[in-house]
Symmetry: C2
Subunit: 279 residues, 2 copies
């Protein structure tokens, strides 16, 4: 978790346009950035590519593809096509992974059927992902997001699906906010191993408003960040570590201070010896 | 799920005192009630016992004991003593189960250590539970409640713990709101089998405010209630089915209408043939 592996997920400072987020990375000495597609579309892919190159920034991931379950076959095909375009964007930016937010169940569709639609959607994209060298990174989301964001709620389920899909182009994202509560998290991180395509940091306090954007500042919650970082390290992950703190209140405040605090907290965790962890 | 097995969890109509909830059961032809300790304390145990007897009501469960993790040994002992008193209350009321809300991690205590404290607390109470014939019913709570309510978040974890504790006095509660999202829920219900000590109904829409009291009316959410009811039936559960819909907005509205709606929705599910279920 040294500074050389640090990435800023741009939704941490969501109100800023991409160009401003890139500037902030340069200003704060952050070597990598995770980009969201709405922000990419605002700037344009080619201009973004040039701005990233000029700033000397890596792209740790592109967020996001997915939302595979839909009521009709044509709508499901449209979601796959959209995710294919995201794969192409990721490749153009040099991002090693496309984050997949897999999608909620459509009205009247069972969780089991929705999960099968997710798997079918990813399967359809594997040839393209293998060809262009971008990983389809399944991100299990916290179970409280199942009705609006994702039927894939545990790392175990993501690992099971990746086992069945049997492609090196299928990965998983380890986002502490989504997985820390799981009694099997250590076992599933070890099982994920080389499949881990991203490690995202924030912290957990019980959300009070919008469950998607009330994540806590690193160090303000109950997550054993250093312990999970060690588990991810032991599993073999050597990629970038994203700071991804989606927080509506922060977005209405001073983003420079928010970012500076996140960097201080990250440095404090990175400075801790990782040879020990609490049970 | 016929009417003879219906129980009203009194927090569905939380503003009502126990005597009024008992009256409502009699008025609506509900044969069983789940009682909360704060309401029991207001009325007094002996008066409650008489009121229940006069109304001819069963008590499906007493809610709640638990909150085992604490920073000091003396505080942990106090939590165990408190839960022992709850066991005695449950026995006095003829309730077959005491619902255990296991408790969050105390500040600075890891999830693993907190989980060990839960297990130690339950273990300490087994002799008393066996003696008086009340089951210690571990209720896994939705993972979004881990910081304030329970480190036990899945039925699998509750089953693992019950396996280790190896006593017929240890059960588990299957509350659809807490477990429906779990990809392993069907497997874990089957595994729980005779251990199931309660089946609680409400529905899931994403909470917008207090995550503990924003449960949806039966039928208004995405939970496959009929499917889970069949799973619980197949697992061998033949006890009462509690309507337990904690909802802050409902509590400020017309509780008679709220209850009547819940009974209609329950009847609609109970009337569905359970020989089929969606995948």
């Amino acid at each position: 978790m040294d500074r050389a592996r640090l990435s800023l997920n741009q939704y941490t400072v969501r109100p800023w346009p991409l160009a401003q987020a890139i500037d902030a990375c340069a200003r704060h000495g952050i070597p990598s950035i995770a980009i969201w597609r709405d922000k990419l579309a605002e700037l344009g892919r080619e201009r973004a590519r040039i701005a990233l190159r000029d700033a000397g920034l890596r792209v740790s991931s592109l967020c996001r593809g997915g939302f595979f379950p839909a009521a009709t076959e044509s709508e499901r095909a449209a979601r796959i096509d959209d995710t294919r375009r995201a794969l192409e964007d990721a490749a153009a930016l040099g991002a090693p992974a496309l984050v997949l937010v897999c999608g909620p169940p459509p009205p009247g569709v069972s969780l089991a059927d929705a999960r099968a639609m997710v798997e079918a959607g990813i399967a359809a994209l594997i040839p393209e992902a293998e060809r262009i060298g971008v990983r389809l990174a399944i991100e299990p989301l916290h179970p409280m997001m199942i009705a609006e964001r994702s039927v894939i709620t545990t790392l175990g389920e993501a690992n099971d699906m990746a086992d069945r899909l049997a492609s090196s182009a299928v990965g998983v994202i380890a986002d502490v906010y989504h997985i820390f509560w799981d009694p099997n998290v250590r076992r599933e991180l070890a099982r994920a191993g080389e499949r881990i395509a991203g490690f995202h940091l924030s912290d957990w306090t019980t959300p009070r408003g919008d469950v998607t954007a009330d994540r806590a500042m690193i160090g303000d919650g109950i997550i054993d960040l250093a312990g999970l970082a060690l588990d991810v390290e032991r599993a073999g992950y050597r990629g970038d570590v994203e700071i991804e703190i989606l927080n509506e209140r922060a977005w209405t405040g001073d983003l420079d201070t928010w970012l500076a605090t996140a960097l201080e907290r990250y440095a404090a965790i990175a400075a801790r010896p990782l040879t020990f962890r609490a049970r």
